[in-house]
Symmetry: C2
Subunit: 318 residues, 2 copies
């Protein structure tokens, strides 16, 4: 049985799974990224976790390679560069160092670009030539496909839309210090920041008056919205407004057929989606109206990123 | 001799030329677009102008086809739709109607996309796979190339970046009524609007205190800057600031190797380019620094748009 090892390097978790040719993740595992601040230890951990997964299969698999999705990864250089959500600083030659441990075909790509490949091979974008995957986790990532091809950019760093400045003037700082950067507003983290902002702006009561930033969790914000908590509702509306404008702007760039959303923020369901649809259509240029879908990824949340990473190797097979 | 008819439909002028396989415009002519408010009269005028040009050649040419660049043109539909700078409203089936008059292979495309094709075939982008052409005339247009291919979008309307909203909140309205739209600031027209804005904001003396909006011309603004007119200098700085931010944002989208600028505003030379370079590098994400060039089109200004339009047909020849 042919399989591909998919590795999703996230700011919080590193997920590893074995993916078959239909995009099914047969087995998976994860560990906390921050527990391995030393790069060599971290890469050893990827190796041992992969080995454990491989040994757990009943049939001995034929390993085609290893695909890796990571923030700020350059597919062309095989590196992760200045990722604000990871502890290793500067330019990390991750592909080269992992190859020393695992001798097999290997590719690395920006996590959102990998997710876009996954959607194209295994998910909701099988029939699409022009679409954008948006990942809404710790940060805001984008994987852009035009003319049926992933947009990599001159140097492999296309799609860093989380650091697009949405404000002429003064805005929140992203992890990379970009003023007004999109992901400072539109991401799971951005929503938490907005919960604080709304409490600073309005004097209304809220369950969050008793919760510190580090104790804030996305699911609690969703629950609060369901209970009618005004701060939560205002926070979703504010997030959706900026996101609606951003997606309308992105439409003017490559005119995708659809935006496919995934990641923690999408777990808030209608609380983010309904105002998002409203603002998006309000901002969308007339010529695009009715032509651009916003949809949730149909891939299973827990394995979508792993399957996206594995798609880097699967797309090269015939 | 093989030639292609190139037609550039602009808000002010319609330019027509005959272009050989090296991108040389052999003869050209123009007329004022607004003198033909009736679409049929306008298309007749394109036909007669083309015929005159063809007859002016000493050798009888072999006509391969006609390429058309126009604002808000859809390559997929063969239409111009809701172009704010043209008098014909709604969806104009220009390709179909022109074919009734000129029976030959014909393609239409957004003018900036056509310009990008022209740069790829004949100009400074011959060796590039990822670049963006920016046209700075009455409006702000963008022709985006990734993976060596023009980005058309799902429906042929990619690259409408002039209507990207650069402000969360309140901004100038574009011709399409988009609040804060980029071309309301960054275009030959935007610069004129900024000359008024600066006079409203500052009380300093300026030669423009005696000039009404309709009498403002780009070359006078350049001349004023050369003479140290503070309003002109502030206007260039303000324009360059917004443009620098926009180009830095666009870089995060497709990571082009270069931005190639053309159109009226570029005639202001260093007055726009020097502050643009400064702001662009200030806003650019660290990971892109030193990797993205801003350059002027090397194509001859008067015929660049015609050659771009002709490139629509030339790119299909082998």
């Amino acid at each position: 049985m042919d399989i591909v090892i998919g590795v999703d390097i996230g700011g919080t978790k590193t997920k590893i799974g074995l993916v078959d040719k239909n995009g099914k993740c047969l087995v998976q595992s994860f560990f906390r990224t921050r527990e391995f601040p030393d790069l060599d230890d971290y890469l050893d951990k990827i190796k041992t976790t992969s080995d454990e997964l491989l040994q757990s299969l009943e049939v001995k698999p034929n390993i085609l390679g290893c695909g890796i999705g990571a923030p700020n990864a350059s597919s062309k250089n095989g590196t992760i560069e200045n990722a604000s959500n990871l502890v290793w600083k500067g330019s990390v030659p991750i592909l080269e160092k992992l190859k020393e441990r695992m001798n097999m075909p290997m590719r690395i790509m920006n996590d959102a670009s990998a997710a876009a490949l996954g959607e194209m091979l295994f998910g909701g974008a099988k029939t699409m030539q022009d679409f954008i995957v948006i990942t809404l986790g710790t940060g805001f990532g984008a994987g852009i496909v035009t003319n049926g091809q992933l947009v990599d950019g001159y140097d492999g760093f296309a799609g860093e839309l989380g650091h697009v400045d949405m404000t002429i003037g003064d805005g929140r700082l992203t992890g990379l210090g970009v003023k007004g950067g999109l992901e400072a507003y539109v991401s799971a983290t951005g929503l938490k920041r907005t919960i604080l902002y709304m409490q600073s702006k309005y004097m209304v009561e809220s369950r969050f008056r008793d919760v510190a930033y580090n104790d804030l969790h996305g699911e609690d914000i969703t629950k609060a919205a369901e209970e009618g908590d005004e701060i939560a509702l205002k926070a979703f509306d504010y997030t959706a407004n900026i996101m609606g404008l951003a997606l309308a702007n992105f439409t003017a760039f490559t005119q995708p057929e659809a935006f496919i959303l995934m990641g923690g923020l999408t777990n808030s369901g209608k609380w983010i989606l309904e105002p998002l649809e409203k603002y998006f259509n309000e901002y969308l240029l007339e010529v695009y109206k009715g032509k651009v879908n916003i949809m949730l990824s149909s891939m299973e949340g827990k394995t979508a990123a792993i399957c996206g990473a594995a798609a880097l190797i699967w797309e090269k097979q015939d």
